[in-house]
Symmetry: C2
């Protein structure tokens, strides 16, 4: 990788100036929030708030301009109106600034000649002075290891997932979803209009970044399709790349143009290009995390022969449909395994000892654990889905739910096949709260947990396909 | 309708005996729960618990057998083991019982000759004595108007939706989902193995039932396909019929056979039969409620030209994709309407005045209300989707969320086009709790609320299709 391509320095600034910090605490001010969020995330370098009126914020002195800062400034966050953007770049040029991230919007995404020209002027002036531009119209960078952050209460914990997102809001939704599932990030990059540094630059960087093991992306449009596909092919060769390509429909594409000035292009062409380049394609932000979760928690995959264990007749029928529709195989339970299972239970009334298994009602933790062990020992199955319905028939079911989940937690070191957990049908307020608690216990213990069999099955299928393709291309 | 077909009496028993009630409170006993749930739902008639050992439960005397009950018994709930089922029927025959509902399982769904024979014997003995059988292997009947219930904390409020469900667990999940969305039921019928009264009988009844305006169904297999389709055609002619046909895949079908002994059949044949019969087909329990919600809250539909109003660039692009993929039309905003919108806002930086509209950040309730009014006044649009993202960019967003939802609530009588609300991306624990509260406020005010644009768009599309077809077939 050339120095030009190595963007590592972006994530290690010694000092950050934030332009557009107001001291008026009665109003929401984005600049002030950036300062606050950097301090909150434990940024180790220096933070310099900037405002022509001076003052103080979060115990930090506010400087009237970049020129007034006594020390070196590596990185600048701009939260000032677009009409001051060019002057800011010129000021930065005199101070050896390496990168400016523009939260500032009002450029090419406006669809006006003025907006496009201003964006061009800003980028050209910056590049002439050795400054790289992130954005404009973006949230910027999050890197928990160095304390870089653009959001409130972003986790301080580092992880193995890198995220590139053209939309700042979506990068935040993705990060929040990840956090509630136990997925953590190496870097998150919200890059907006991609006027200078673009999706290909960041994708190339994450492909080489040793801290990043899984690449995820929300993309509306790309600047240079052939370069992007080439970079993607290289990236997908070394690590999984999960991509949500938005603006896939005609109206979505038109909307993307208004949002980030992106040319989104036809969805069918995109789907085919991404598939050929080896990307894992998804349809929603949640699905990005659904798949990253499996990839980060389960080291490898043997195949897509799944055993489904749960309780409840109707949900078991639907689990069969959902797994089949997702493309998974549900092999039948061999006769001798079926007999071993029947021996565990007093009666088979109201139970199904086929795959999917319906083993309600379960009274003892030992029963659940033995069932899972018997299934896991059967060669026919590569992976287990264990699902827990929260809503109850005739009586309160919270104790049964707790017992079931305690048993799953107990399984952790007792079987050597991956167990994917589904917690579903938590509908009443009480069950929603109970589910929150159970989710946390399970993902903290290392389990991949899903809110429906459908989402789990779809994620498993894409996970298995990725490993199969990867094995084939390696051999 | 013949007397034979009129099942109204099933929902008006003067007295119910529950067989299989244990006084041992250390164990979960289904019979005892049935007694409890009937009393809890306010059943006005008499409840007679039965157990050979006698005793007392919930302040009621337990009778050793049906014969020992001094008064007339209209309806019997059986929670005893299958081996006693035939004797129970014989006992009931001597007491003028009109219907027995068997929670009891262990019949044809076991896949054994013994199970099938026992089911046949039970039904034949019952029918010879003028007794109808519900089930076996089912939860039974819920009718809030008469206080019939089989579940814990089922709502006492009556509604316009009837539900037929082959799975008891799924009927409960459906009912819980409905309750959290503000949808209420006239009758819920969980009918299990359908050995005597089956899906066609109940469907025919609900078609004629004046209390039921919308019919919903979870079906694994049917006893007599040609009768079912004929009954369905008649029902769909007079009211909407929403059907989730489970066991649609090969493995799902195999599982359905184990669950309720149902012959599920090929999914493609089913899809085509149901479409021709005029049913609204859905894929999940949630989707049943998604569509019933619209049908019960919005009196009619003009068409599928939708305006989407919300905030956030990325989610707006995805909203466009989701609506388009669902089959909705998103007409462009006419130039003069666009100008009226721009006049409301100080700047259009960071906003999109196309459809879908991205109007973040919103500071004033008046702005939101005026925006919605301007859009609603435009002839080009039939319906509005207003969506609210809970997760925040740089700062806490709960006040903005509250303001947005207050504004939507204020809209209620100010515009004359339907407004469908989407609350989405509530991911952190705090936002999940906030969403619960906001959901309730909105649905209590009469709004149809969805957790994603995708689900709202799909429901709207099926809702519009239903009305278009219905108008065509009437003319």
């Amino acid at each position: 990788m050339s120095d030009e391509q190595n963007l590592e320095y972006l994530f290690h600034p010694q000092s950050i100036a934030v332009a557009g910090v107001s001291t008026d605490s009665t109003k929401i001010n984005v600049g002030r929030r950036y300062v606050h969020n950097l301090l909150d995330c434990g940024f180790k370098g220096k933070v310099y708030p900037i405002n022509p009126n001076g003052g103080e914020v979060d115990g930090l002195k506010i400087f009237p301009s970049i020129q007034d800062i006594p020390d070196k400034v590596d990185h600048v966050v701009s939260a000032i109106p677009a009409r001051y953007a060019l002057q800011l770049v010129k000021d930065c040029a005199t101070r050896g600034v390496k990168a400016i991230q523009f939260f500032t919007a009002g450029f090419s995404e406006m669809g006006t000649d003025e907006g496009r020209q201003l964006e061009l002027d800003v980028v050209n002036t910056a590049r002439r002075n050795g400054i790289r531009v992130i954005g404009p119209n973006c949230m910027g960078l999050y890197c928990p290891r160095t304390g870089l952050s653009f959001g409130l209460n972003f986790p301080k914990q580092s992880g193995s997932v890198g995220l590139i997102a053209q939309s700042g809001g979506n990068s935040i939704c993705c990060l929040r979803e990840a956090t509630t599932r136990g997925v953590y990030f190496s870097k998150v990059i919200s890059y907006g209009n991609a006027a200078d540094l673009n999706e290909s630059d960041f994708l190339e960087y994450l492909a080489y970044d040793s801290e990043t093991e899984i690449i995820t992306a929300y993309i509306e449009g790309v600047r240079d399709i052939s370069r992007f596909i080439a970079v993607l092919k290289n990236a997908a060769r070394v690590k999984p790349v999960i991509i949500l390509k938005a603006g896939a429909t005609e109206i979505g594409s038109r909307t993307a143009a208004s949002h980030t000035g992106a040319m989104a292009g036809s969805s069918r062409i995109w789907a085919s290009l991404l598939r050929q380049a080896g990307a894992i394609q998804v349809d929603s932000l949640e699905e990005i995390i659904d798949i990253a979760l499996l990839l980060s928690r389960i080291p490898y995959s043997h195949g897509k022969n799944i055993a489904v264990i749960g309780a409840g007749g109707g949900v078991t029928v639907q689990a069969a449909d959902d797994c089949s529709k997702a493309g998974l195989d549900l092999p039948a339970v061999p006769a001798q395994v079926k007999q071993r299972l029947k021996d565990i239970y007093i009666t088979d009334v109201g139970r199904i000892f086929e795959n999917p298994l319906d083993i309600e009602p379960v009274a003892k933790s030992e029963t659940i654990i033995t069932t899972a062990k018997v299934i896991a020992e059967c060669d026919r199955f590569d992976m287990l889905i264990m699902h827990v319905v929260f809503e109850s028939g005739v009586a309160d079911r919270s104790n049964t739910v707790r017992l079931y989940i305690d048993s799953i937690l107990d399984l952790k070191d007792k079987i050597d096949k991956p167990v994917v957990v589904v917690l579903h049908y938590y509908i009443t307020d009480e069950n929603k709260l109970l589910a929150l608690e159970m989710y946390k216990r399970l993902y903290e213990a290392g389990f991949a947990v899903y809110p429906s069999v459908r989402r789990a099955a779809s994620a498993i299928n894409k996970f298995v396909q990725y490993h199969q393709r990867h094995r084939t291309s390696e051999s």
